[in-house]
Protein backbone atom coordinates (compact mmCIF):
# COMPACT_ATOMS: atom_id res chain seq x y z
CA UNK A 1 0.00 0.00 0.00
CA UNK A 2 1.01 3.55 -0.59
CA UNK A 3 2.41 5.38 2.39
CA UNK A 4 -0.58 6.77 4.28
CA UNK A 5 -3.07 4.61 2.37
CA UNK A 6 -4.90 2.34 4.79
CA UNK A 7 -5.74 -1.18 3.68
CA UNK A 8 -9.33 -1.88 2.68
CA UNK A 9 -11.38 -2.99 5.68
CA UNK A 10 -12.07 -6.71 5.95
CA UNK A 11 -15.78 -5.87 6.16
CA UNK A 12 -15.75 -5.22 2.40
CA UNK A 13 -16.34 -8.75 1.16
CA UNK A 14 -17.22 -8.44 -2.52
CA UNK A 15 -13.93 -8.94 -4.40
CA UNK A 16 -14.75 -6.41 -7.13
CA UNK A 17 -15.77 -3.85 -4.49
CA UNK A 18 -12.53 -4.46 -2.57
CA UNK A 19 -10.55 -3.80 -5.76
CA UNK A 20 -12.53 -0.63 -6.51
CA UNK A 21 -12.10 0.61 -2.95
CA UNK A 22 -8.34 -0.01 -3.03
CA UNK A 23 -8.16 1.76 -6.39
CA UNK A 24 -10.11 4.76 -5.06
CA UNK A 25 -7.69 5.14 -2.17
CA UNK A 26 -4.62 4.82 -4.38
CA UNK A 27 -5.97 7.30 -6.92
CA UNK A 28 -6.69 9.75 -4.09
CA UNK A 29 -3.17 9.29 -2.70
CA UNK A 30 -1.81 10.80 -5.92
CA UNK A 31 1.85 10.80 -6.84
CA UNK A 32 4.36 8.65 -5.03
CA UNK A 33 7.63 10.21 -3.88
CA UNK A 34 10.03 11.01 -6.76
CA UNK A 35 12.57 8.25 -7.35
CA UNK A 36 15.93 9.46 -8.70
CA UNK A 37 17.57 7.79 -11.69
CA UNK A 38 20.68 5.72 -10.91
CA UNK A 39 22.75 7.62 -13.46
CA UNK A 40 22.56 11.01 -15.08
CA UNK A 41 21.67 11.07 -18.77
CA UNK A 42 24.94 9.91 -20.32
CA UNK A 43 26.55 9.16 -23.66
CA UNK A 44 27.62 5.53 -22.97
CA UNK A 45 24.06 4.44 -22.19
CA UNK A 46 22.72 6.40 -25.18
CA UNK A 47 25.32 4.71 -27.40
CA UNK A 48 24.43 1.26 -26.05
CA UNK A 49 20.79 1.99 -26.82
CA UNK A 50 21.33 3.33 -30.36
CA UNK A 51 23.73 0.45 -31.10
CA UNK A 52 21.25 -2.18 -29.92
CA UNK A 53 18.25 -0.65 -31.72
CA UNK A 54 20.26 0.17 -34.84
CA UNK A 55 19.30 3.84 -34.62
CA UNK A 56 21.80 5.92 -36.63
CA UNK A 57 20.17 9.31 -35.93
CA UNK A 58 23.14 11.74 -35.69
CA UNK A 59 21.24 13.88 -33.16
CA UNK A 60 22.29 11.22 -30.63
CA UNK A 61 24.18 11.16 -28.28
CA UNK A 62 24.19 14.98 -28.24
CA UNK A 63 20.62 14.58 -27.04
CA UNK A 64 19.10 11.40 -25.65
CA UNK A 65 16.57 9.56 -27.79
CA UNK A 66 13.23 10.79 -26.43
CA UNK A 67 11.80 7.25 -26.30
CA UNK A 68 14.68 6.36 -23.98
CA UNK A 69 13.23 8.43 -21.12
CA UNK A 70 11.97 5.42 -19.18
CA UNK A 71 15.36 3.72 -19.43
CA UNK A 72 16.98 6.28 -17.13
CA UNK A 73 14.76 5.33 -14.21
CA UNK A 74 14.44 1.59 -14.71
CA UNK A 75 14.86 -0.39 -11.50
CA UNK A 76 17.81 -2.37 -12.80
CA UNK A 77 18.87 -5.97 -12.37
CA UNK A 78 18.02 -6.18 -8.67
CA UNK A 79 15.41 -3.44 -8.61
CA UNK A 80 12.42 -3.58 -6.30
CA UNK A 81 9.39 -1.34 -6.41
CA UNK A 82 9.22 1.31 -3.71
CA UNK A 83 6.59 0.68 -1.02
CA UNK A 84 4.56 3.66 -2.16
CA UNK A 85 4.67 2.75 -5.86
CA UNK A 86 0.98 2.79 -6.87
CA UNK A 87 1.33 0.19 -9.63
CA UNK A 88 3.04 -2.18 -7.20
CA UNK A 89 0.32 -1.63 -4.61
CA UNK A 90 -2.51 -2.16 -7.10
CA UNK A 91 -0.75 -5.24 -8.47
CA UNK A 92 -0.69 -6.78 -4.98
CA UNK A 93 -4.42 -6.16 -4.54
CA UNK A 94 -5.22 -7.79 -7.90
CA UNK A 95 -2.82 -10.69 -7.28
CA UNK A 96 -4.64 -11.42 -4.02
CA UNK A 97 -7.96 -11.44 -5.89
CA UNK A 98 -6.62 -14.03 -8.34
CA UNK A 99 -5.79 -11.71 -11.23
CA UNK A 100 -2.21 -12.92 -11.23
CA UNK A 101 -1.17 -12.57 -14.88
CA UNK A 102 -0.16 -9.33 -16.50
CA UNK A 103 0.21 -7.94 -20.00
CA UNK A 104 0.99 -4.37 -21.00
CA UNK A 105 -1.53 -2.94 -23.45
CA UNK A 106 -0.80 0.77 -24.00
CA UNK A 107 2.07 3.18 -23.53
CA UNK A 108 1.82 6.84 -24.49
CA UNK A 109 4.80 9.11 -23.89
CA UNK A 110 4.97 12.85 -24.41
CA UNK A 111 8.21 14.82 -24.29
CA UNK A 112 8.35 18.47 -23.21
CA UNK A 113 11.93 18.88 -24.38
CA UNK A 114 15.05 16.96 -25.33
CA UNK A 115 17.33 15.65 -22.59
CA UNK A 116 21.10 16.16 -22.70
CA UNK A 117 23.95 14.23 -21.10
CA UNK A 118 24.53 15.35 -17.52
CA UNK A 119 20.88 15.96 -16.63
CA UNK A 120 19.60 14.08 -13.59
CA UNK A 121 16.08 12.67 -13.84
CA UNK A 122 13.62 11.60 -11.21
CA UNK A 123 10.29 9.88 -11.77
CA UNK A 124 7.07 9.84 -9.83
CA UNK A 125 3.92 7.92 -10.64
CA UNK A 126 0.24 8.00 -9.80
CA UNK A 127 -2.62 5.62 -10.35
CA UNK A 128 -5.30 7.21 -12.53
CA UNK A 129 -7.79 4.47 -13.33
CA UNK A 130 -8.70 0.86 -12.59
CA UNK A 131 -11.47 -0.53 -14.82
CA UNK A 132 -13.08 -3.93 -14.61
CA UNK A 133 -13.77 -6.72 -14.30
CA UNK A 134 -13.78 -7.07 -18.10
CA UNK A 135 -13.90 -10.10 -20.27
CA UNK A 136 -10.91 -10.22 -22.61
CA UNK A 137 -9.44 -12.76 -24.99
CA UNK A 138 -6.89 -13.59 -22.30
CA UNK A 139 -9.41 -14.03 -19.50
CA UNK A 140 -11.30 -11.84 -17.04
CA UNK A 141 -9.25 -8.89 -15.91
CA UNK A 142 -8.81 -5.28 -14.85
CA UNK A 143 -7.17 -2.50 -16.82
CA UNK A 144 -4.83 -0.52 -14.58
CA UNK A 145 -3.65 2.88 -15.80
CA UNK A 146 -0.83 4.90 -14.29
CA UNK A 147 0.77 8.18 -15.25
CA UNK A 148 4.49 8.72 -14.67
CA UNK A 149 6.14 12.13 -14.72
CA UNK A 150 9.85 12.64 -15.23
CA UNK A 151 11.44 15.77 -13.85
CA UNK A 152 14.83 17.51 -13.88
CA UNK A 153 15.25 19.66 -10.77
CA UNK A 154 11.47 19.70 -10.40
CA UNK A 155 10.83 20.69 -14.05
CA UNK A 156 8.54 18.17 -15.81
CA UNK A 157 10.30 16.98 -18.96
CA UNK A 158 8.25 13.93 -19.98
CA UNK A 159 5.07 12.09 -19.10
CA UNK A 160 3.88 8.56 -19.75
CA UNK A 161 0.48 6.95 -19.59
CA UNK A 162 0.97 3.23 -19.07
CA UNK A 163 -1.84 0.67 -19.07
CA UNK A 164 -1.66 -2.98 -18.14
CA UNK A 165 -4.24 -5.73 -18.05
CA UNK A 166 -4.13 -7.79 -14.88
CA UNK A 167 -6.05 -10.96 -15.67
CA UNK A 168 -7.05 -14.27 -14.23
CA UNK A 169 -5.45 -16.91 -16.43
CA UNK A 170 -8.05 -19.39 -17.65
CA UNK A 171 -7.66 -22.85 -16.11
CA UNK A 172 -5.51 -25.14 -18.22
CA UNK A 173 -7.53 -27.56 -20.36
CA UNK A 174 -7.95 -30.95 -18.72
CA UNK A 175 -5.32 -33.44 -19.86
CA UNK A 176 -6.53 -35.65 -22.70
CA UNK A 177 -7.98 -38.97 -21.56
CA UNK A 178 -5.84 -41.88 -22.59
CA UNK A 179 -8.06 -44.84 -23.39
CA UNK A 180 -7.52 -47.91 -25.56
CA UNK A 181 -8.72 -46.82 -28.99
CA UNK A 182 -10.76 -48.95 -31.39
CA UNK A 183 -9.48 -49.97 -34.79
CA UNK A 184 -11.62 -48.06 -37.27
CA UNK A 185 -11.80 -49.62 -40.73
CA UNK A 186 -14.20 -49.79 -43.69
CA UNK A 187 -16.35 -52.35 -41.88
CA UNK A 188 -16.63 -50.36 -38.63
CA UNK A 189 -16.42 -46.69 -39.71
CA UNK A 190 -20.25 -46.32 -39.84
CA UNK A 191 -20.45 -47.39 -36.16
CA UNK A 192 -17.94 -44.74 -34.89
CA UNK A 193 -19.39 -42.08 -37.19
CA UNK A 194 -22.69 -42.89 -35.48
CA UNK A 195 -21.44 -42.54 -31.91
CA UNK A 196 -19.88 -39.20 -32.90
CA UNK A 197 -23.37 -37.86 -33.72
CA UNK A 198 -25.15 -39.60 -30.85
CA UNK A 199 -26.48 -42.61 -32.77
CA UNK A 200 -26.09 -46.26 -31.87
CA UNK A 201 -25.91 -47.88 -35.31
CA UNK A 202 -26.47 -51.60 -35.86
CA UNK A 203 -25.32 -53.35 -38.99
CA UNK A 204 -28.12 -54.64 -41.23
CA UNK A 205 -27.67 -57.03 -44.12
CA UNK A 206 -28.58 -55.33 -47.41
CA UNK A 207 -29.76 -58.68 -48.77
CA UNK A 208 -31.76 -60.53 -46.10
CA UNK A 209 -32.23 -57.69 -43.58
CA UNK A 210 -30.72 -59.52 -40.59
CA UNK A 211 -29.26 -57.29 -37.86
CA UNK A 212 -25.81 -58.11 -36.53
CA UNK A 213 -23.17 -56.85 -34.15
CA UNK A 214 -20.17 -56.57 -33.97
CA UNK A 215 -19.72 -55.37 -37.54
CA UNK A 216 -18.25 -57.54 -40.25
CA UNK A 217 -18.04 -57.63 -44.04
CA UNK A 218 -20.29 -60.66 -44.55
CA UNK A 219 -23.77 -61.57 -43.30
CA UNK A 220 -23.48 -64.65 -41.05
CA UNK A 221 -27.00 -65.71 -42.11
CA UNK A 222 -27.07 -65.35 -45.90
CA UNK A 223 -23.43 -64.67 -46.78
CA UNK A 224 -24.15 -61.41 -48.62
CA UNK A 225 -21.53 -58.67 -48.54
CA UNK A 226 -23.84 -55.65 -48.80
CA UNK A 227 -23.96 -54.31 -45.25
CA UNK A 228 -26.05 -51.29 -44.29
CA UNK A 229 -27.19 -50.11 -40.88
CA UNK A 230 -30.16 -49.02 -38.79
CA UNK A 231 -30.15 -46.65 -35.82
CA UNK A 232 -31.08 -48.56 -32.67
CA UNK A 233 -33.52 -47.20 -30.11
CA UNK A 234 -30.69 -47.42 -27.58
CA UNK A 235 -32.86 -49.27 -25.03
CA UNK A 236 -32.10 -52.75 -23.76
CA UNK A 237 -31.43 -54.95 -20.77
CA UNK A 238 -28.27 -56.23 -19.15
CA UNK A 239 -27.66 -59.67 -20.65
CA UNK A 240 -24.38 -60.23 -18.83
CA UNK A 241 -21.77 -58.13 -17.06
CA UNK A 242 -18.42 -58.12 -15.30
CA UNK A 243 -17.13 -55.78 -12.60
CA UNK A 244 -13.54 -54.89 -13.43
CA UNK A 245 -11.35 -54.45 -10.33
CA UNK A 246 -7.88 -55.21 -11.62
CA UNK A 247 -5.63 -54.47 -13.44
CA UNK A 248 -5.90 -50.68 -13.63
CA UNK A 249 -6.69 -49.40 -17.12
CA UNK A 250 -5.78 -46.02 -18.61
CA UNK A 251 -8.70 -43.59 -18.58
CA UNK A 252 -10.80 -45.67 -16.16
CA UNK A 253 -11.32 -45.69 -12.43
CA UNK A 254 -11.75 -49.14 -10.91
CA UNK A 255 -14.06 -50.75 -10.14
CA UNK A 256 -16.20 -50.27 -13.23
CA UNK A 257 -18.90 -52.33 -14.89
CA UNK A 258 -18.73 -53.67 -18.44
CA UNK A 259 -22.17 -54.78 -19.58
CA UNK A 260 -23.26 -56.86 -22.56
CA UNK A 261 -26.66 -55.36 -23.32
CA UNK A 262 -29.36 -57.00 -25.38
CA UNK A 263 -31.05 -54.27 -27.35
CA UNK A 264 -34.77 -54.14 -28.08
CA UNK A 265 -33.76 -54.89 -31.67
CA UNK A 266 -32.32 -58.23 -30.51
CA UNK A 267 -28.57 -57.76 -30.95
CA UNK A 268 -26.08 -57.50 -28.09
CA UNK A 269 -23.62 -54.66 -27.69
CA UNK A 270 -20.80 -54.19 -25.16
CA UNK A 271 -20.15 -51.00 -23.24
CA UNK A 272 -19.31 -49.55 -19.86
CA UNK A 273 -22.33 -49.26 -17.57
CA UNK A 274 -21.98 -45.88 -15.91
CA UNK A 275 -23.94 -44.34 -13.07
CA UNK A 276 -24.69 -47.68 -11.45
CA UNK A 277 -23.37 -49.14 -8.17
CA UNK A 278 -21.11 -52.05 -9.26
CA UNK A 279 -22.46 -54.10 -6.35
CA UNK A 280 -26.09 -53.63 -7.34
CA UNK A 281 -26.02 -54.42 -11.06
CA UNK A 282 -28.19 -57.44 -11.99
CA UNK A 283 -29.03 -59.39 -15.11
CA UNK A 284 -32.14 -57.97 -16.76
CA UNK A 285 -31.65 -54.44 -15.47
CA UNK A 286 -33.10 -51.91 -17.94
CA UNK A 287 -30.48 -49.61 -19.48
CA UNK A 288 -30.20 -47.14 -22.29
CA UNK A 289 -27.33 -45.99 -24.42
CA UNK A 290 -25.07 -43.15 -23.29
CA UNK A 291 -22.19 -41.59 -25.16
CA UNK A 292 -18.78 -41.04 -23.60
CA UNK A 293 -16.97 -38.27 -25.48
CA UNK A 294 -13.25 -39.01 -25.07
CA UNK A 295 -12.00 -36.27 -27.41
CA UNK A 296 -12.84 -34.70 -30.75
CA UNK A 297 -12.07 -37.94 -32.54
CA UNK A 298 -13.59 -40.64 -30.36
CA UNK A 299 -16.98 -41.15 -28.74
CA UNK A 300 -17.46 -44.51 -27.01
CA UNK A 301 -20.90 -46.01 -26.54
CA UNK A 302 -21.77 -46.67 -22.91
CA UNK A 303 -24.84 -47.57 -20.86
CA UNK A 304 -26.74 -45.94 -18.07
CA UNK A 305 -29.63 -47.25 -15.94
CA UNK A 306 -33.12 -46.21 -17.08
Amino acid sequence: MSAGVAPVADAVQDPAERIREAARRLVEAGDCAPRPARDPVNEPMINNWTEALGDANPAYPGIAPPAMVQVWTMGGLHGQRADDDPLGAMTRVLDEAGYTSVVATDCAQTYARALRPGERLAVRARLTDVAGPKRTALGEGWFVTTVSTWTVDGEPVAEMMFRILKFRPPPPPPPPRQVPRPQVNRDTAYFWEGTAVGELRIQKCGECGALRHPPGPMCPRCGATRPGYVVASGRGEVYSFVVHHHPPLPGREVPFVVALVELEEGVRVLGELRGADPGAVRIGAPVEVDFDRIDDELVLPAWRPR
Binding site: L53, A56, A59, Q70, A104, T105, C107
Partner: protein
Protein backbone atom coordinates in the same frame (compact mmCIF):
# COMPACT_ATOMS: atom_id res chain seq x y z
CA UNK B 1 21.02 -2.74 -40.61
CA UNK B 2 19.67 -0.89 -43.66
CA UNK B 3 20.74 2.71 -44.05
CA UNK B 4 18.14 5.26 -43.07
CA UNK B 5 16.16 6.75 -45.94
CA UNK B 6 15.66 10.33 -44.91
CA UNK B 7 13.05 12.54 -46.51
CA UNK B 8 14.35 15.50 -48.50
CA UNK B 9 14.07 18.75 -46.52
CA UNK B 10 11.76 21.41 -47.85
CA UNK B 11 8.03 21.38 -48.23
CA UNK B 12 6.03 19.70 -45.44
CA UNK B 13 4.89 16.16 -46.21
CA UNK B 14 1.42 15.58 -47.58
CA UNK B 15 -1.16 13.67 -45.58
CA UNK B 16 -1.09 10.10 -46.84
CA UNK B 17 2.66 10.02 -47.46
CA UNK B 18 3.97 6.51 -46.83
CA UNK B 19 7.21 6.16 -44.88
CA UNK B 20 9.87 3.67 -46.01
CA UNK B 21 9.41 0.30 -44.31
CA UNK B 22 11.81 -0.56 -41.52
CA UNK B 23 12.57 -4.31 -41.63
CA UNK B 24 14.29 -5.90 -38.66
CA UNK B 25 15.57 -9.42 -38.15
CA UNK B 26 14.52 -10.03 -34.58
CA UNK B 27 17.30 -12.45 -33.67
CA UNK B 28 17.77 -13.71 -30.11
CA UNK B 29 20.81 -11.42 -29.97
CA UNK B 30 18.63 -8.45 -30.96
CA UNK B 31 16.05 -9.27 -28.27
CA UNK B 32 18.71 -9.62 -25.57
CA UNK B 33 20.82 -6.64 -26.65
CA UNK B 34 17.85 -4.29 -26.77
CA UNK B 35 16.41 -5.57 -23.48
CA UNK B 36 19.69 -4.90 -21.69
CA UNK B 37 20.24 -1.55 -23.45
CA UNK B 38 16.81 -0.50 -22.15
CA UNK B 39 17.72 -1.85 -18.68
CA UNK B 40 14.86 -4.32 -18.73
CA UNK B 41 16.12 -7.42 -16.95
CA UNK B 42 12.91 -9.44 -16.89
CA UNK B 43 13.87 -13.01 -17.70
CA UNK B 44 11.36 -13.38 -20.55
CA UNK B 45 13.56 -11.02 -22.58
CA UNK B 46 16.87 -12.89 -22.22
CA UNK B 47 16.34 -16.39 -20.80
CA UNK B 48 14.67 -18.79 -23.21
CA UNK B 49 14.18 -21.55 -20.62
CA UNK B 50 12.44 -19.13 -18.26
CA UNK B 51 10.33 -17.67 -21.08
CA UNK B 52 9.11 -21.11 -22.14
CA UNK B 53 8.40 -22.05 -18.52
CA UNK B 54 6.14 -18.97 -18.31
CA UNK B 55 4.15 -20.13 -21.32
CA UNK B 56 5.91 -18.16 -24.06
CA UNK B 57 7.21 -19.68 -27.25
CA UNK B 58 10.58 -17.98 -26.86
CA UNK B 59 12.12 -14.77 -25.56
CA UNK B 60 10.37 -11.71 -26.97
CA UNK B 61 10.87 -7.98 -27.51
CA UNK B 62 10.28 -5.72 -24.50
CA UNK B 63 8.02 -2.67 -24.58
CA UNK B 64 10.77 -0.08 -24.22
CA UNK B 65 12.39 -1.46 -27.36
CA UNK B 66 9.14 -1.50 -29.29
CA UNK B 67 8.59 2.14 -28.30
CA UNK B 68 12.11 2.98 -29.47
CA UNK B 69 11.66 1.18 -32.79
CA UNK B 70 8.38 2.98 -33.49
CA UNK B 71 10.21 6.24 -32.86
CA UNK B 72 13.13 5.12 -35.08
CA UNK B 73 10.77 4.23 -37.94
CA UNK B 74 9.68 7.87 -38.00
CA UNK B 75 12.99 9.61 -37.26
CA UNK B 76 14.83 7.53 -39.91
CA UNK B 77 12.48 9.21 -42.36
CA UNK B 78 12.09 12.61 -40.69
CA UNK B 79 15.82 13.23 -40.21
CA UNK B 80 17.95 14.44 -37.30
CA UNK B 81 16.38 17.93 -37.13
CA UNK B 82 12.93 16.51 -36.34
CA UNK B 83 11.82 16.97 -32.74
CA UNK B 84 9.88 14.02 -31.34
CA UNK B 85 7.00 15.24 -29.18
CA UNK B 86 5.10 12.03 -28.47
CA UNK B 87 5.15 8.28 -29.04
CA UNK B 88 1.92 6.45 -28.30
CA UNK B 89 1.62 2.72 -28.82
CA UNK B 90 -0.88 -0.09 -28.37
CA UNK B 91 0.62 -3.54 -28.07
CA UNK B 92 -0.64 -6.56 -29.98
CA UNK B 93 0.94 -9.96 -30.44
CA UNK B 94 4.40 -10.68 -29.01
CA UNK B 95 7.41 -10.51 -31.31
CA UNK B 96 9.50 -13.59 -30.60
CA UNK B 97 13.16 -14.22 -31.32
CA UNK B 98 13.54 -15.59 -34.85
CA UNK B 99 10.73 -13.44 -36.25
CA UNK B 100 10.92 -10.50 -38.63
CA UNK B 101 9.40 -7.18 -37.61
CA UNK B 102 8.34 -4.80 -40.37
CA UNK B 103 7.41 -1.27 -39.31
CA UNK B 104 5.65 1.10 -41.66
CA UNK B 105 4.18 4.56 -41.27
CA UNK B 106 1.80 6.95 -42.93
CA UNK B 107 1.39 10.67 -42.42
CA UNK B 108 -2.03 11.14 -40.84
CA UNK B 109 -2.07 14.88 -40.08
CA UNK B 110 0.03 17.98 -40.70
CA UNK B 111 -0.51 21.28 -38.88
CA UNK B 112 1.36 24.31 -37.65
CA UNK B 113 3.40 23.60 -34.55
CA UNK B 114 2.02 24.93 -31.28
CA UNK B 115 3.28 28.24 -30.03
CA UNK B 116 5.93 27.95 -27.33
CA UNK B 117 7.43 24.74 -28.76
CA UNK B 118 9.90 24.20 -31.58
CA UNK B 119 9.02 26.00 -34.81
CA UNK B 120 7.88 24.16 -37.88
CA UNK B 121 5.03 21.84 -38.79
CA UNK B 122 3.72 19.22 -36.47
CA UNK B 123 3.29 15.89 -38.24
CA UNK B 124 1.31 12.98 -36.88
CA UNK B 125 2.48 9.64 -38.25
CA UNK B 126 0.52 6.42 -37.80
CA UNK B 127 2.81 3.45 -37.38
CA UNK B 128 2.10 -0.28 -37.63
CA UNK B 129 4.65 -2.98 -36.81
CA UNK B 130 3.85 -6.46 -38.06
CA UNK B 131 5.54 -9.73 -37.25
CA UNK B 132 4.78 -13.35 -38.07
CA UNK B 133 1.82 -13.57 -35.66
CA UNK B 134 0.14 -10.34 -36.79
CA UNK B 135 0.19 -6.74 -35.58
CA UNK B 136 2.83 -6.43 -32.87
CA UNK B 137 2.27 -2.72 -32.38
CA UNK B 138 0.06 0.08 -33.65
CA UNK B 139 0.59 3.64 -32.65
CA UNK B 140 1.31 7.23 -33.49
CA UNK B 141 4.39 9.45 -33.38
CA UNK B 142 4.14 13.21 -33.24
CA UNK B 143 7.17 15.07 -34.65
CA UNK B 144 7.86 18.70 -35.39
CA UNK B 145 9.70 19.18 -38.69
CA UNK B 146 11.66 22.40 -39.17
Amino acid sequence: MAAAVTRAPGAPPAVGTELPALRLDVTATFVVATALATRDFQDVHHDRVAAVARGSKDIFLNILTTTGLVQRCVTDWAGPAAVVRAVSIRLGVPCYAGDELVLGGRVAAVEAAHAGGPEGVEVLVEVVGRCGLGDHVTGTVKVVLP
